[in-house]
């Protein structure tokens, strides 16, 4: 079997990559895609750790499930906000997000 640490390293690498992408992308849609990758990497870490520690109480898997639920809610709300913003301002660039209201 592949040792759990390999999964943890992969999760960390993808999380860091997606975080750098999230900070540098100028498009709201691409930033949200990076957020998806970050939550998937976190779920992978939960699963790998749960498996490595051999927990019979399923904590790792349960946490990964909640991680996916929150991430699904987040992408739905996020994309709705992007649509709303686009309808009002005709742009999805983060450079144009410089007003606190409206």
């Amino acid at each position: 079997m592949v040792p759990p640490i390999a999964f943890l390293i992969l999760g960390a690498v993808v999380f860091l990559l997606a975080m750098i992408g999230f900070l540098t992308r100028r498009s709201l849609v691409q930033a949200l895609m990076c957020l998806e990758l970050m939550t998937s990497a976190v779920a992978l870490t939960f699963l790998a750790l749960g498996r490595a520690l051999g927990d019979r109480s399923m904590t790792g898997m349960v946490f990964a499930t909640f991680c996916m639920v929150i991430s699904a809610a987040e992408i739905g709300m996020g994309l709705a906000l992007v649509l709303l913003y686009f309808r009002k301002h005709g742009s999805t660039s983060t450079d144009d997000l410089d007003l606190m209201k409206g």
Partner: protein, 167 residues
């Protein structure tokens, strides 16, 4: 080829696909291409979950992310396709700042991984299957389970409210 070699091969294959798709997704000028690369990465994540014996979560990942989320992302990309985001500003001066934040994040992460590498057992025991997961969700974790359903409902109503055409 033994089971050991097969699982290493699958892990390496999916790791390469995930990292490659992530980088391609971020560097792509065309947002539809980005969405396709995102779908590839999320599909490989489902494969990794299956490799970790989390069959139910692998299926969830397949249905929700590779299916529903990708479709919604493509819809939004199409609906906002007239929006022009200048690509020169896609990789710009904040890049160095972002890389610095990444390095600052990576240092404690590497430290933690080192500690874990020494502490974790090499051979992992397989956790329980879907049955145990269902039991845990509906007994020990029943309160967070119900709250998460309320969160999903709130997000659903909120998304419809926000995205509706103002009449």
């Amino acid at each position: 080829m033994g089971a050991e070699a097969t699982s290493w091969f699958l892990f390496t294959l999916m790791a390469v696909v995930i990292v490659g798709c992530s980088v391609a997704m971020m560097l792509s000028r065309n947002f539809v291409h980005s969405a396709v690369f995102l779908a590839g990465a999320l599909l490989s994540f489902a494969g990794l979950y299956a490799l970790l014996d989390a069959t139910f979560l692998a299926l969830l990942q397949l249905f929700i992310y590779a299916g529903a989320v990708t479709v919604v992302v493509v819809f939004v990309v199409m609906l906002t396709s007239t929006s022009v985001v200048a690509f020169d500003s896609l990789l710009q001066r904040q890049t160095w700042l972002a890389l610095a934040v990444g390095v600052a994040f990576a240092i404690p992460l590497i430290d933690a991984l080192r500690t874990l590498a020494a502490a974790l057992p090499l051979a992992a025991t397989a956790p329980g299957g879907t049955e145990e997961l269902a039991r845990a969700l509906l007994t020990t974790y029943v309160a967070p389970f119900e709250i998460s359903s309320a969160i999903l409902l709130a997000a659903l109503v909120g998304a419809i409210y926000l995205a509706r055409e103002a009449s």
